[in-house]
């Protein structure tokens, strides 16, 4: 190498003092996190308010529902005072908030158990199911989508492309509850090799997790493949190709990181809908999570329980979105900080 280095002043922008750059790099992060946190808090506030209003809008008298259909008037009145329903709505609303912060979400009308206890005892099963399915969907979709994107790039293997597009479209249409029914039929009824219901042992997780992850995996794989094709058209991939590297390095190091940001951005909604999907899957597999409880409590008009569970699900979805956004700026600080 005979090209000699020359003093920086001759050729380039003078470097900023390290301290100043560090400060500047930190500043947008803090403001981004503050803004994102703010959005989370506002959404949470809306969620709680709407859940509170839901119950106010239920037709019929909550005190009568709570006391029982045939209860004498004085019992209903006593119940009304006990539940604080005689107070103005705004007072009830504030009491509701205070209750949330002190861990008092009221008690179930049917079982008389504290709502928080019901949620805490049932939530782990729902969380396990949802997290396992989300993790599997993400990992599988990224691997499969990258693979199919790579082998069908530039219009290659038209047959594979057609096959992939049609199969994934069909699988993506199958909703989680149908996937569940079909899986039960195939593996539990027909072959009798996997448990059909309940949560006991590792093999009982298999069918519910597959049922929940199947459709979203197909949709996500399609997205990842489309994103792969987009990334493969970028100039920096041509630069990487000009360096003549093994395919594994090209796809793993140069394509994958660029793929993850866009894929995660798009998949936020899909992952959120998987949380809601647990309700259906749990009802098929008699999974001891919150999914069975919420349906039952809606039918029983057990409104404190409905309220609590809706807040739980909503907060979970918001949390997932928050986590995705934070992962996104960790993966690619530039896009997240620029667009915010």
């Amino acid at each position: 190498m005979s090209v000699t280095p020359v003093s920086p002043a001759a050729g380039g922008t003078p470097a900023a003092a390290p301290g100043r750059t560090a400060f500047r790099a930190q500043n947008p992060w803090v403001s981004y996190l503050l803004r994102r946190g703010m959005y989370f808090v506002i959404s949470l506030f809306v969620l709680v308010t709407v859940s509170f209003l839901l119950v106010q809008l239920i037709p019929g008298d909550p005190a009568r529902i709570s006391a029982g259909e045939n209860a004498p008037p004085e019992v209903i009145e006593a119940r009304r005072i006990q539940l604080g329903l005689d107070k103005p709505v705004i007072v009830q609303y504030l009491t509701f908030w205070v209750g949330l912060f002190t861990g008092d979400m009221g008690e179930s009308i049917t079982s008389r158990m504290p709502v928080l206890d019901v949620i805490l005892s049932r939530a782990p099963a729902t969380l396990e199911l949802a997290l396992a399915a989300v993790a599997i969907a993400l990992v599988l979709a990224v691997c499969l989508g990258l693979f199919f994107g790579a082998i069908t790039r530039g219009g290659r293997r038209h047959g594979v492309e057609v096959g992939f597009t049609s199969v994934s479209a069909i699988v993506a249409v199958i909703p989680e509850f149908l996937a569940g029914v079909i899986l039960v039929y195939l593996f539990a009824v027909n072959m009798d090799i996997l448990p059909v219901a309940g949560r006991s042992g590792l093999e009982s997780y298999l069918l519910p997790v597959i049922a929940l992850a199947l459709g979203p995996t197909a949709s996500l794989t399609r997205i990842v493949r489309a994103e792969t094709l987009t990334v493969l058209q970028q100039d920096y991939v041509r630069t990487a190709r000009a360096k003549r590297m093994p395919a594994v390095r090209l796809y793993g190091k140069h394509v994958l990181p660029n793929l993850l940001t866009s894929t995660l951005t798009i998949s936020g909604l899909l992952l959120g809908s998987m949380i809601a999907g647990t309700v259906l899957v749990e009802n098929i597999f008699a999974w001891p999570g919150l999914g069975g409880v919420i349906v039952e409590s809606i039918q029983n008009q057990d409104y404190p329980l409905v309220q609590g569970i809706i807040i739980f699900y909503g907060a979970l979805v918001l949390l997932i979105n928050l986590i995705i956004d934070i992962v996104l700026i960790l993966l690619d600080p530039r896009t997240a900080l620029d667009t915010s």
Binding site: V3, V55, N190, H254, I284
Partner: protein, 640 residues
């Protein structure tokens, strides 16, 4: 093509026929199934409880002895009509809410957008369940709940589409003219966002059908004695061990109906979006390949021998691209040239003249849909095979060692997700047998050599932390990791400021002088090329029209009319100021006869002269065969 003709064309494809059949069947069942089979489906036969499939009952009977198939058919009406009603209500209110921010503007508009954004965060099914708490458990309630759940999503889609139209000139013009906002929205915005909304409505309807079935399945939708597919599934699942068909048949009906809506969306998408990619049909491709293979075994003439001191040489290079289904465009037509050791050769020509294609085909970096062939090619004393549709394998071991590339746009040519330093060091790891530490040290040394200040720290920064000129220098540094005898530079200064341009040119000249590296420098800027290069190749419409030394060019000794016209457009210090700048009129033709690609012509393929640059850049999407990305409504839907 008009929308109607595209729709007809889309319907004539196998997928279109399938969509037509599926939609027709679904429509027929929705309208008439209960009238035809409703009564027989309701018959309970206590002697026929939970029977397996038989001639009388094709899929058997359910727990009350009712025929499963007939019930499933009869349930179509309720399942589909409820989903359609929910879709209509959800889409209409979503469009309204999505347009309101534009009509209201200001603070109210922003509040609505904020509300939509919060609503979108919550999955539709959760919203539907929440609202069924208030609305109660019935078919109507579930329909309303699904419509409400659809609203934020559709509102956001409408808002995003409308907001993108809102900035267009014709809207501004209407606003300046004082047209009321609501009228602008109705007359100018809505028609322009209609198509994507329609495509999405079809897919949304499929989603509504599935959601509705889900609510009914949970017992929150249709109630006994009425039944839809979800309700049947609800009843069937509990008896799945006895009569699996009672759950599976309505389940399959849900999937088929859902697919019908997806198909409908697909066809609508095809009809409503302009034509996208068509790859070279395999028939034409086979003929082209056969022709090329023939050419290779029986060369048309003996190619001119290569010069002894040439580092890169090619004879009769041709690049063809697909055009329509059966046609071929010739983008580079019989180009031959030599680049001598230590020489700087410029390639000039207007956009689409094939100069970048020539360079890229030598580097083996062309889009796979393009067809490349040459009678002979040689790099650094080694014969090359210019394989069509891929890298020339024989070049691979030269890259990073004896050959380097610099691309046009330093903004997009560096990977935004990786540190600049590691991208520079990569060649060392890949081709020079360095370990990570050695590669890092070498990369820092090269970064310093191209005058990146504070290279040690800059090594660990991302491309977006570099200025445009620094990125281009980093690209050059990556090329210098080995000891290249040739640098292929594709318009390396086009995207840069004039001052930065000068820096890069100085750097390239210095590398050439000090290391004796030959440079092939593609540019449309003839002034830059004449000042930097020793020799200039002039390309016009895919052909090499002149190979001339810079001195002769500067002295006005160009032989070809196009070269002279090109030189006349360069302003000098003596160019009169008041007069308009010289330019080459669009309709000017310097080609003087000649026709298309030999391979294409011999293969009996109609040859069309094409725009090489469009093929390489603007139409890259079209040429790359990425059909799905542009026309798959499901993916577009998911991308939202």
């Amino acid at each position: 093509m008009t929308t109607a003709r595209r729709l007809l064309a889309a319907l004539r494809t196998p997928l279109g026929v399938l969509a037509l059949l599926a939609c027709g069947t679904l429509l027929f069942l929705t309208l008439f199934a209960p009238a035809i089979w409703g009564e027989r489906a309701a018959v309970t036969d206590t002697t026929q409880i939970s029977q397996p499939p038989s001639d009388e009952h094709l899929f058997g009977t359910d727990g009350s002895g009712r025929d499963i198939l007939l019930r499933t058919l009869a349930a179509t009406q309720l399942s589909v009509s409820m989903a359609l009603m929910a879709t209509v209500a959800g889409v209409l209110s979503g469009v309204l809410v999505g347009l309101l921010p534009l009509i209201l503007g200001g603070r109210a508009g922003r509040w609505i957008v904020a509300g939509i954004n919060i609503g979108v965060a919550f999955p539709g099914l959760l919203l539907a369940i929440a609202f069924s708490v208030i609305l109660g458990q019935s078919g109507t309630a579930a329909t309303l709940a699904i419509a409400i759940a659809m609203l934020p999503n559709y509102g956001r889609l409408t808002h995003n589409l409308a907001a993108s139209v809102w900035g267009r000139d014709y809207i501004s013009a209407a606003r300046v003219l004082g047209v009321p906002t609501w009228q602008i929205v109705l007359r100018h915005v809505l028609p322009n966002v209609r198509d994507p909304l329609l495509v999405n409505a079809a897919i949304t309807a499929g989603g509504a059908l599935v959601s509705f079935a889900g609510l009914s399945f949970l017992g929150l939708g249709i109630q006994v004695p009425q039944y839809d597919w979800g309700r049947m599934l609800n009843e069937g699942v509990s008896r799945i061990f006895v009569t699996p068909a009672a759950a599976l048949v309505p389940g399959i009906a849900i999937i088929l109906a859902g697919l019908t809506f997806v198909l409908l969306g697909e066809i609508l998408g095809k009809a409503l979006t302009p034509d996208t990619h068509r790859s070279l049909s395999s028939r034409v491709l086979r003929r082209l390949r056969a022709q090329t293979a023939e050419n290779e075994t029986e060369p048309a003439g003996v190619p001119a021998p290569f010069a002894e001191d040439s580092v890169l040489a090619v004879r009769n290079l041709r690049v063809c691209a697909p055009h329509g289904r059966d046609d071929v465009r010739t983008l580079v037509d019989g180009v031959s040239f030599d680049v001598a050791r230590g020489e700087i050769v410029g390639v000039v020509g207007e956009s689409g003249s094939g100069k970048s294609l020539t360079l890229m085909s030598m580097a083996g970096l062309l889009d796979p849909s393009l067809h490349v062939s040459a009678d002979a090619a040689r790099f650094d004393g080694e014969d090359l095979t210019l394989r069509a549709g891929g890298h020339p394998a024989s070049l691979d071991h030269h890259f990073g060692k004896r050959m380097a590339m610099v691309f046009q746009d330093p903004m997009s040519s560096l990977n935004p997700a990786l540190h600049v330093g590691s991208q520079v060091a990569e060649a060392g790891l890949l081709h020079l047998g360095m370990n990570r530490r050695e590669a890092r040290e070498a990369a820092i040394e090269r970064l310093e050599a191209v005058r990146i200040p504070d290279a040690e720290r800059r090594y660990g920064q991302y491309p977006h932390e570099y200025s445009g000129g620094m990125r281009q220098r980093a690209m050059i540094a990556a090329g210098l990791m080995g000891k290249p005898s040739l640098i292929l530079a594709d318009e390396p200064t086009t995207a840069l400021d004039v001052t930065v341009q000068a820096e890069i040119l100085t750097l390239l000249r210095r590398i050439n002088e000090e290391d004796g590296t030959a440079i092939m420098f593609v540019s449309h800027d003839i002034a830059v090329v004449t000042s930097l290069c020793t020799r200039v190749l002039v390309m016009y419409r895919g052909r090499l029209v002149e190979d001339i030394s810079s001195e002769d060019l500067r002295a006005g000794r160009a032989a070809h009319a196009y070269t002279r016209a090109l030189m006349d457009t360069v302003p000098t210090m003596t160019t009169p100021r008041g007069e308009p700048m010289a330019s080459i009129p669009d309709e000017a033709d310097f080609s003087g006869g000649g026709d298309g690609c030999a391979a294409g012509r011999a293969a009996g393929v109609e040859v069309v002269r094409g725009d090489a640059d469009a093929a390489m850049r603007g139409d890259a999407e079209r040429l790359d065969g990425d059909v799905e990305r542009t026309s798959d409504p499901l993916v577009q839907e998911e991308k939202r």
